[in-house]
Symmetry: D2
Subunit: 336 residues, 4 copies
């Protein structure tokens, strides 16, 4: 039984409370820390079996019973709290991104070299049943040598403008998941990125200095070409598809729906829209990534994604920003 | 080059004129006969390359250059003209059903014994790409021993009431195609039929003594169970599906559509309705059945369906009528 | 918070332990009773939060803290324990079938008249996301007046011969779920049943006096015709589909799969097989039915299916057996 | 009735002979010209109703009865014969590409200004049922404002190396169809192109100075971003899909197959591979483009694609080559 403390009681923090309480049998949550925690949330947490609620995350780090912490606080605190937690000898599960600044991530890496605890980054999509099935097909050799990878990733609606302004831009906030997906599916790093992007969804996003629509092309170490298409708003909901094409064939997945019901009528043959957004689509994946993390601690094995898996997508995102700014292909090596 | 005469210039007669003119390279139409042929139709036929138009089908039978006749006249004339044509030494392609009366079909069989010309019945659906693919899977052993056959056959709209009254009833008019399909897919005859039927589409059909909705269960010689479901009106169009289930698996086909376009929007994910009705759905099958007929003549081989394939579905239809009337399972052997 | 006792620690009893422990927030299990409970199971139960394990179900009924019992013991004990529990003032969730004998079910009904506790029967498929979506389409009027209902229900493999012998026959063991499904989808009772059945999967099943393949036609009170096709063995796995066809259109569902991954290769375009069997396919439905049961207790509302919903499918099953034995359509009114 | 001469009796010339003979009712072929025509082809042409066969295309241009010519000769002759034919007052249907050299295409444009005959370029895919349905959805406003266009275009096998060497490179030979598709679907021109490409299928293609795998990003005049992915070899056959995504939704099409048959077995659920290559997939589109051309002549209306539709994809292809060579985004305006 692994004893866990959770730092941050926002949306994703609550998802993790629920996952551990109901789906991860070999873990329990001893403490939940959030400086702004609401009474309502605290009560809910207790009902979910959380023993103690605090405003100070340092309490979590100081508790000798706590084996591991989940860092779900605001993005700017991910890397400093990671370092603190590592130094306190806690295993760390850190939400993505570790930081927008490569130097800060390297500090986490240094801390890990000194204190080799388990470290996992929250790229939950790797644990989705569909994407895992594509990866399994790749691993089984069914696709052969990979030639082209396509990732479609479109949100049902843009985030609020306050969030857009602090998000680090679409590439570091949204595409970062797709950068990880490309690495996951190909099993290698990107060497170069080229971005074509535009503001087509909402002019306010453009005014905030960001884009909302993009096609991003990547050259991969293994010679494959990857392409990601992003939109901040798909009228039909959360569009999350991938396709891997290679010398022996193709693996592709379609969106998940609430049911397979299809209505045939005078108007046409109509199925359901994709599950609305990430909480609906990836709920199982959120639980599964924690199960892997907890199992890695219990069994003394590697976590499925380490700190380098947190670093590379940030480099790709920074290279994408540079590509857009300078209107040219940018090598990943140009970044940090 | 096979020289053909066509008797009957109604809807299906015209389909055959067009098929032979444009798609059957080794046949030409010398004569088209219809007592009520309209000037407009005669002109159209000439443009399609028909050499001669007549009101008297006997002209067709008398022409020594004509190798084969297609009988597309009204149902009550199918069997007498078949006999005449056979006796005149013509190969015969006869639209379904040969007759509603088994004795009349047996007369055609007798004529064929005396004059062994080629004889083919117009069960066009055997030549449809989808159903042929299911049959090919069965033949290739992919389904194993057949256990259950399901045929869904629903029209987009009921025929006019005048037609309903002379049609011989839904089982001999519409289900007859499905009876043939079951024989085609299983490669054997039915031994027993049970009907559950109702008038749910239009009370006028009931007043005319017919039904418009039915589920028909069949016991097959090879032990399989077949079930057909029929409706005279599907709001979404012509529904033509089959499924063959056996010891090794299942083969199933879905409907054909005009395109594979799917629109995803706030309203759902919508594809096209099935092709509207038999002329849209089976146009290629109509041409293909004639190609097989013409090739059988040219090559001196068997036609893909002979007179017995015209007889059995009629017996099944008559047994179905008896089952409905007497509310019990009826053996095919009880019929003629 | 509803306090629950579970009687029976077999496969389905364990499923309910897990569902309540992890997915039903407003219920807790105080006791688990099974005369043959293994030490291993008892330990597992404690880890799942079950406070007490016993060999005597009467302990459950005697405990005044327990509000409700789930009866998951062997079929022959369902009705007597139901009656005992009702008389003890416990709300009852009873696995299907309540009994194979209509008279025994009527005893449960009598007990309920005297002690009107909540009573729910375990027809879990009503809580499946796919079937519920079809029912929702029916309720929303999208199908119009129902004309034809089709249920395909095929197991991946037949049960062991020991089980076959005590199962009451395929219609009471397996088809009973489909009988319930037809009632659920149409919202009305059947009036007549006709069975065509055979032994095509395993001769041993025939030697045990049962069948393994069937097509069952039903006449419904609302005029619709329903047809169920069953097989004890589908090579490709658990096949669970329904289709409702009516005056305005059709609603249909396909099977669930572990992922939507499709591999295109030189061999074809291949998707996954259906989820293997009921534990994989209906795990969520098992939790949902209990949530409804617990909520009905908490809120003092009706359970989603009452004792009559347990009775009718048994009558349909007995009528089906009679139809097979006497080779004729049988009215449900002929049964009890 | 439009009288046609066909110049070139290679593969595509024969397709057009067959289309006009069997599917275009209001046209007839008076002459077929090819300097290397084989006796076998000449005989076949006569059987298809071609009145006269010649080795000298000038005979076609000189025949006053001939209204229109189809130019199906080798690519290097497309533009000079176009000019000659236009000057001879013939309407012209010219296979793609008109030329690899923009200056040569401009000569054709000049000739057309002096002699305003009908001129149509053979981008057959615009007449495919699937792509036309997507375009219809766009025109009907179902997609709203277009944001992203995706075209997948993969051949089942690379052409022979002799052909590769004279093809002008993959972008002018293969992608040119996709460039046209992007223009067709968006209804506007591209302004910039960026290419990521590689040799992953066959090193010999690289040795010949060409690529066989590419992802091509395009900026469109209307603000949309388009992306094409190409491969010279898909193990599962000819992959021809498009997707248009916009403010109101998405329209997408899948590949055509010979049948909708799906086999479910212990191995999985397997449908057919896409139709093998362009002759199978686009046979109807080839006939339809000619029907439009002939109708434009008969009715004095515009052809569905004029000479500018022949020019723009060549400019896009040349820009793509430049992008690949110079490893940077290239404006279409940089080309001719």
């Amino acid at each position: 039984m692994v004893t866990v403390g959770i730092i941050g009681a926002g949306r994703i923090g609550k998802v993790h409370v629920e996952s551990i309480s109901t789906k991860v049998a070999n873990a329990r949550i001893k403490m939940l820390a959030d400086p702004f925690i609401r009474e309502e949330t605290a009560q809910w947490a207790k009902k979910m079996g959380v023993a103690h609620v605090t405003k100070d995350y340092r309490e979590v780090l100081a508790d000798p019973e706590i084996d591991a912490v989940l860092i779900c606080s605001s993005t700017d605190t991910h890397s400093p709290i990671s370092v603190e937690a590592i130094r306190a000898g806690k295993h760390v599960f850190c939400e993505k991104p570790i930081d927008h600044d490569v130097a800060k991530i390297r500090e986490v890496m240094s801390a890990l070299e000194e204190h080799p605890v388990k470290y996992q980054v929250g790229f939950n999509r790797r644990f989705d049943h569909n994407f895992a099935a594509v990866r399994a097909a790749v691993d089984a050799g069914k696709i052969g040598e990979i030639h082209i990878v396509k990732v479609t990733s479109r949100d049902p609606e843009p985030p609020g403008m306050e969030y857009v302004k602090v998000s680090g831009g679409m590439f570091l906030d949204m595409t970062i998941h797709d950068f990880d997906m490309v690495r996951y599916l190909t099993g290698c790093n990107a060497t170069e990125v080229y971005v074509e992007a535009a503001v087509l969804v909402d002019p306010a996003i453009g005014e905030a200095g960001d884009v909302d629509t993009a096609v991003i092309t990547l050259k991969m170490e293994n010679g494959a070409i990857a392409v990601i298409d992003n939109s901040r708003k798909a009228a039909y909901g959360y569009d999350q598809r991938v396709e891997v094409f290679g010398s022996r064939g193709m693996a592709a997945v379609s969106n998940d729906t609430a049911s397979s019901a299809v209505i045939s009528s005078a108007e046409g043959v109509t199925g359901e829209k994709p599950l609305h957004f990430f909480l609906e689509r990836y709920m199982d994946a959120y639980a599964k990534e924690l199960q892997y993390f907890v199992d890695a601690i219990e069994n003394g094995t590697d976590t499925p994604l380490g700190v380098v898996d947190g670093l590379e997508p940030v480099r790709m995102g920074l290279a994408a920003k540079k590509s857009l700014a300078e209107h040219r292909p940018v090598k990943i090596a140009e970044i940090g």
